[in-house]
Amino acid sequence: MNSNSSYGYENISLIQVEGLTHTYDNGTGPVVVLQGVRLGIQMGEMVAIMGPSGSGKSTLLSILGLLMIPTAGSYTVLGRDVLKFDRSSQASFRRTYAGFVFQRCNLVDTCSVYENLEFPLIYAGVKRSERPAKIQDALARVNMTHRLHHRANQLSGGEQQRVAIARALVNSPLIVLADEPTGQLDRMHGELVMDHFEQILSDKDKAVLIVTHDPHVASRCTRVCLLEDGVLKPN
């Protein structure tokens, strides 16, 4: 079902967000984090969300990954209203449609690269016999097959981030959501990570959303959106 180019959704809106608003109460009153955000992402796009700290970038990314639920607004993926999902369906969405790359704490330190990539496959119920091929394939895309049996804490920061990208890809998700993926990397490794993201887009049925501060990272995306005070503006 998830094989490349088999979705048949090219040129249709993968993600559509309308009037997304998120507020929380910090004890002294409501704080508006996102205000009427409208965003559509097509397949094959790599979208960068930029903005100052505290502008709501990570909150938007978390909502898109169903890691949190907004206060108001609508969010559809391939036309399905995913905000109505219960906790179990949210988890199912995360393991089937979304792949995450975080700035930090991307891997389970005590496990090997293989085991880290196996987790999404386990939770997706992939047969044990099918896992090695998928893991090898994902690692090959980030040139990390030689580190297959190394423990995560034996890898450099750049290598860990590449393994995290491989893990995000191992279940062939529709969209990769990356939160400051190059934030802790030097320029050279940052470039390498962006190369891998661009490679993901060679599968036309996928999209990448990157939250970043780095203009250089943004410059390599197909589209950049600016988030200021919870309001999203096209750049």
Partner: protein, 397 residues
């Protein structure tokens, strides 16, 4: 679409995590293992320890000794005796360690250099010493072979030996009883012997052969395996006797008061030991609970990450619950090994060996208990882990 079951993967992940975090869990594992080993030792060795304790305590009171005798009532009644088949049937009763038949006669005499010494004598079988928990202070006692061969040997009470032989060692010397010669095999003495220090003992068969006018065996001593058996045996004796012979003069003597005291003391000791074992296991349970709470706290990032990549609440719950169960199960296995070691040492010291089946039943019970302990102690931490919000977990890191 329903997902394929992933229990074995969860099990593998959990075992891997327990192995990786073994240092953190070492104290907990040891606590549960010691509790389990204690449980196994109590159950497997308890009977033997009780038996041993029972024997030692008996030196003070003879609480597990039952005396059964046929009392003719008044002097004109016909003298009755225990038939051999009655004694054999009594020996076959469950809860009986040994049975000894005796005959006795007061006022026999022994000639010594200065004249004659009067005393009482007992004709006993080879079990008499074991039944009464007697040990010789000099030489040895006569045994079953001496009895079956009707040998002319005797054991003297320490006081009687002094009266007959003075300060000289009586063992191996000849002693005259009712004008017959006997070789002294040993001397009986000590605090538990009581007024028997003034008695002479000869094999019952020899006595029946050489002592004239001796009454038939009217008295038997029955040593129960433990004090728990005394009542059952005392209740069963009349039935057994009446099934094998006609008599209306059976009397049974049990030291109920001593028995009650000994049982009460043993009950408290047993209660204390069980309490200590259960307390250790409960402490182990708290250790697991505490360890798992700390684990959940320090592994928030892992929990958040796993949820972000698609783990459901129940997957996280299962993982941490299985980790807790693995922990307690491993501890119980280690406890089984320690328990076996302790059992071997105990067996060597007590010179008795419990049946292996009992040991394996105990290990099985301990493993089952450990599963319940792990699940019980790990439930709350696992629930907390499973209900953690993804974002909070990741951000906390």
């Amino acid at each position: 679409m329903p997902r394929k079951p992933i229990f074995f993967d969860i099990l593998r992940i959990s075992i891997h995590q327990v192995i990786m975090q073994r240092r953190r869990y070492l104290g907990v594992i040891l606590a549960v293992a010691l509790g389990t080993a204690g449980f196994i030792v109590i159950i497997t060795m308890g009977t033997d320890v009780k038996k041993d304790l029972n024997r030692d305590l008996d030196l003070l009171g003879g609480a597990t000794l039952i005396r059964a005798y046929l009392d003719a009532g008044h002097k004109y009644s016909k003298i009755q005796q225990f038939q051999p088949e009655t004694v054999d049937a009594l020996r076959a009763l469950p809860g009986i360690e040994a049975v000894s038949e005796i005959v006795s006669r007061p006022a026999v005499s022994s000639s010594v250099q200065k004249g004659r010494v009067g005393f009482s004598f007992v004709g006993a079988d080879g079990s008499f010493w074991d039944v009464n928990s007697f040990t010789p202070i000099k030489g040895s006692f006569f045994n079953a072979e001496d009895v079956s061969q009707k040998r002319r040997v005797c054991v003297l009470g320490s006081d009687l030996a002094l009266r007959i032989f003075g300060d000289a060692d009586p063992v191996g010397r000849t002693c005259w009883i009712e004008n017959e010669q006997y070789r002294v095999k040993g001397v009986l003495g000590g605090v538990a012997v009581g007024d028997l220090i003034g008695f002479a003992f000869i094999p019952i068969t020899t006595a029946q052969e050489y002592i004239p006018g001796l009454p038939p065996p009217q008295k038997i001593y029955i040593r129960c395996t433990s004090w728990d058996d005394v009542k059952k045996v005392a209740d069963a004796i009349p039935d057994v006797v009446h099934r094998h012979q006609l008599t209306d003069s059976l009397r049974i003597e049990v030291r109920w008061e001593e028995l009650k005291r000994v049982q009460s003391m043993a009950w408290w000791v047993e209660l204390f030991v069980y309490f200590a074992t259960v307390a250790t296991l409960i402490l182990g349970g708290f250790g697991i609970w505490n360890g798992m709470m700390a684990t959940v706290k320090t592994r928030k990032a892992e929990i958040g990450l796993k949820k972000a990549i698609g783990a459901e609440d129940r997957d996280i719950l299962a993982q941490f619950l299985v980790e807790a169960v693995c922990l307690s199960f491993t501890s119980a296995l280690l406890g089984g090994v320690l328990g076996r070691g302790a059992m071997e040492i105990g067996s060597y010291l007590l010179k008795s060996r419990p049946h292996d089946t009992l040991f394996f039943v105990c290990v099985g019970m301990a493993l089952l208990f450990s599963l319940a302990l792990g699940a019980g102690a790990g439930l709350y931490p696992s629930l907390r882990a499973s209900r953690m919000e993804v974002l909070n977990a990741i951000r906390d890191e």
